[in-house]
Symmetry: C3
Subunit: 218 residues, 3 copies
Amino acid sequence: MNNLIQKFLIYDSAEISDALDSLNIDGALLGLKPIVGNVKMCGYAFTVKYAQYQVKPLEAHGAANYIDDVPAGSVIVVDNAGSDNATTWGDILTRVALNKHINGTVVNGAVRDIEFIIQSKYPLFTKHIYMRSGKNRVYLENTMCNVTINQVVIKPGDIIFGDMNGVLVVPVEYAKEVLNRAYNIKQTEEKIIQAVTDGMALSEARTLYRYDKPWLQN
Amino acid sequence: MNNLIQKFLIYDSAEISDALDSLNIDGALLGLKPIVGNVKMCGYAFTVKYAQYQVKPLEAHGAANYIDDVPAGSVIVVDNAGSDNATTWGDILTRVALNKHINGTVVNGAVRDIEFIIQSKYPLFTKHIYMRSGKNRVYLENTMCNVTINQVVIKPGDIIFGDMNGVLVVPVEYAKEVLNRAYNIKQTEEKIIQAVTDGMALSEARTLYRYDKPWLQN
Amino acid sequence: MNNLIQKFLIYDSAEISDALDSLNIDGALLGLKPIVGNVKMCGYAFTVKYAQYQVKPLEAHGAANYIDDVPAGSVIVVDNAGSDNATTWGDILTRVALNKHINGTVVNGAVRDIEFIIQSKYPLFTKHIYMRSGKNRVYLENTMCNVTINQVVIKPGDIIFGDMNGVLVVPVEYAKEVLNRAYNIKQTEEKIIQAVTDGMALSEARTLYRYDKPWLQN
């Protein structure tokens, strides 16, 4: 696995989010929930944008064939405008993704075949679960384009990170600085936890360890 | 168990939904979630319609006594207009349903006593979980009438099917044709899965096995 | 553990809610879900009220230092107006709460560090899960004040009860009468369950055991 991705996997979404906050970067993607328990996912965004058919097409199109082009180490980000009434991910795509060493998928929309996905432990984050196919309801508008989820822009190649709290995006040009700050934040929190476990008041521990600016080395 | 019901239980909700799609039948019931894990449910719809009291009644009515009339093999479909603030199902009804070999319950509304229901593994699908009773809040308006959930009409005696992806209704007059198409869809998907597992590109496998019309025999 | 709290823990939220209904008291708090499975929680309300910053502050404030003042046996009720986009509870507060023998927390808003909280089995009920910190987004407006969740008022010192069905508040001045009625309701329900298990029709069992007024001794 890629070195940068491995470094992100040391942290959790709270630490990375606090690092983004300290840089005034908005990276949290509201409303995306993990399907599989105890999951942690990180990879480079491969973006996919769907649009709804206005008229049902005469012929079905293989709207998910894009997966043949996704490189190992990616996280696929599927934007279907948060729609709850047609799925854009299921068991066949999950099997292909596992075979291709894709690191996970984020669906701004709905997914199906949850039982298989849970068994397979494939990292999947979604807004909705349903069973109705997207076939003949949505079409592939574009891949590797910018997509926007709840006002946050995701560029192809950005770092996508997910765990039990949800999903966030780290703009790839800030990846190293976010890692540096996440490291210091983690250190600060561990010192505070040790201090309160030893009986110190929380207010005192937070003052002592600079909870106001936990990304500073201390 | 009834022969038709047993045949449906071979499939999952995605396969049945795709068969319905191929017939242009809208059967997916948006927003209903399973309470119990690894669940699969099928049976004939016994429909129940509640309405809200406008004024709190002077006397309580046994709004759930209808269950004494529900035959074995049914799935009870309780329509309380999707309401989140009063329950129309709980532990006593679950115990009675288990005793009577009722196959499951779908609540377009809220349920309580989740802990017992999870333990009992009774197949229950609902929109909401809460603890406040429907007693003196709702009354039984009708049973064995047509009910509508998110614009989909359910007639008494229709096939109700549920699994981890959610719930759908198959109009009983289409049951056999849906089973025929679900069979072919399952075969097609298994061939595609085998092909991609063996390393074929998804686009190629889908063309080879007629993913555009998977309900055709091939 | 306090004697009154121990007595409440004999019952479940459905029984307590029915006792409140019989007294015409509205105590059910809509939309709060448990994070941890098989949970039952009871304690005295320690209320905390947050408000949103209109302008990002120049300096971070320790908005959660209130926890140093919370007595053992409390349930902390955090009101952040149901907001989904910034968390007001996480792993450090959970650790401090466990150390201080606080009985649980209810968040009308969002929480983070779910994975640790699930492991720790700390009773936590919330509307939303997310990872973005409330730091510099919300401030502590008040503690030990009345708070209102979905039109239900919670006073400091009221009894807060939660289980898998959700959370309710029992005004402390009604605690004993609610316990008396919950006792009778539980007896009535157990008799009905025994009767239907022995094969009696539900309608008959409910008439026999006065399901219309289950809080009466019978």
